[in-house]
Amino acid sequence: MSFDPVVRLAGVSRVHGDGPQAVAALREVSLDVAAGELVAVMGPSGSGKSTLLNLAGGLDRPTSGEVVVEGRPLSGLSAGDLAGLRRRHVGYVFQDLNLIPSLTAAENVMLPRELDGVRMGQARREAMAALEEVGLAEVAGRFPEEISGGQRQRVAIARALVGERRLILADEPTGALDTPTGDDVLQLLRARCDAGAAALLVTHEPRYAGWADRVVFLRDGAIADSTLPLESAR
């Protein structure tokens, strides 16, 4: 295992528009997330939280600065290579779960692996393992509308975890879930980090940020404060 961070943002800025209308969504943000680390990003709306997440996952490109995922600078990658890197290394969990309603839980989790070109039998085995990990093996054959909101969110997490993804990006993953169910979601992210993944969690809920090793406060597109990492007692 290397000591390089799984994701590194180095002096990253993102400006929307140009000239006098230009708006800086992110200004000179530098942030490393190492394997095993769960970093929470907090801040008022419009402070750049989601922009930061999109840049870290290669869904958006910075105006200046560099994003490095698993040692590969994203600026040098073609659109095709970037898409490949996203699929293989990055798992996304969003508030609106984006599960495909016509596919079963297992098929939803298999999908990214099938897109990677993994054979169906293998993809199914990996999907079952990921569903097992989130405690949902028994609903693998059900459709999203047949399971609870909390279960749907866990399926979305299984989909983000399937395969060898080491970078997990979660944008308000607890959405409208009640407190115990939201705690379950954080428990899963935490366990995945303890097993060696790196996760960036955007949340406006202090209680969920409390699960992180480090909490970064964004304000007006810049890092205003951050808690020191807790001594590793995991």
Partner: protein, 175 residues
């Protein structure tokens, strides 16, 4: 103070020695409220005076078993049946500090930011303690309470910042 009622609640489960009461009190409250043995015996002797508990014979090691009385049970039930009054809670230094900072026209923002980082740190530590905890439901609920309080404080700090940013008074001061 709730020490005496807490001890009564423990004694309602059966007679106990003083040292047992102390251990059980701390186990239930997750060591958030450490009692020293002196406090336990002082409280027990006052409760004995008030007829809420009755001591048994001293055993050969000089230990005394205490038993709850009917009056003690009634006091415990009265306690459980009465909501905690807001005025019985200690004042919150942070609230006073921020109010004073605003009144004295000090720069409130660094006060808020420093507190936010400190409170978040507390929240991280509490969350870790809860994850590591193998204790029973009483301790878990105590930890949950502390987590909710830290969370509320964090939300309140965000609120303070938003209100002060929007307030024309503070904006004038900043310019």
């Amino acid at each position: 103070m709730a020490i005496r009622q807490g001890l009564l609640a423990l004694l309602s489960q059966g007679p106990r020695y003083g040292y047992q009461l102390r251990a059980e009190f701390e186990a239930s409250t997750g060591a958030t409220w450490p009692l020293n043995i002196g406090q336990v015996y002082t409280t027990l002797s006052r409760m004995e005076r008030d007829g809420l508990v009755a001591p048994g014979e001293q055993d050969d090691q000089g230990r005394v078993v205490y038993t709850i009385t009917e009056a003690g049970r009634a006091e415990m039930e009265r306690w459980f049946g009465t909501p905690v009054a807001q005025s019985d809670r200690p004042r919150d230094e942070l609230v006073i500090k921020l109010a004073m900072a605003v009144t004295a026209a000090a720069d409130v923002r660094p006060v808020i930011q420093a507190q936010r980082v400190a409170t978040m740190r507390t929240l991280q530590e509490l969350t870790r303690a809860k994850r590591a905890s193998v204790a029973g439901p009483a301790q878990r609920l105590v930890l949950d309470s502390m987590i909710f309080q830290a969370e509320a404080e964090q939300r309140w700090l965000d609120h303070c910042e938003a209100v002060l940013t929007a307030s024309p008074q503070t904006q004038e001061r900043q310019t």
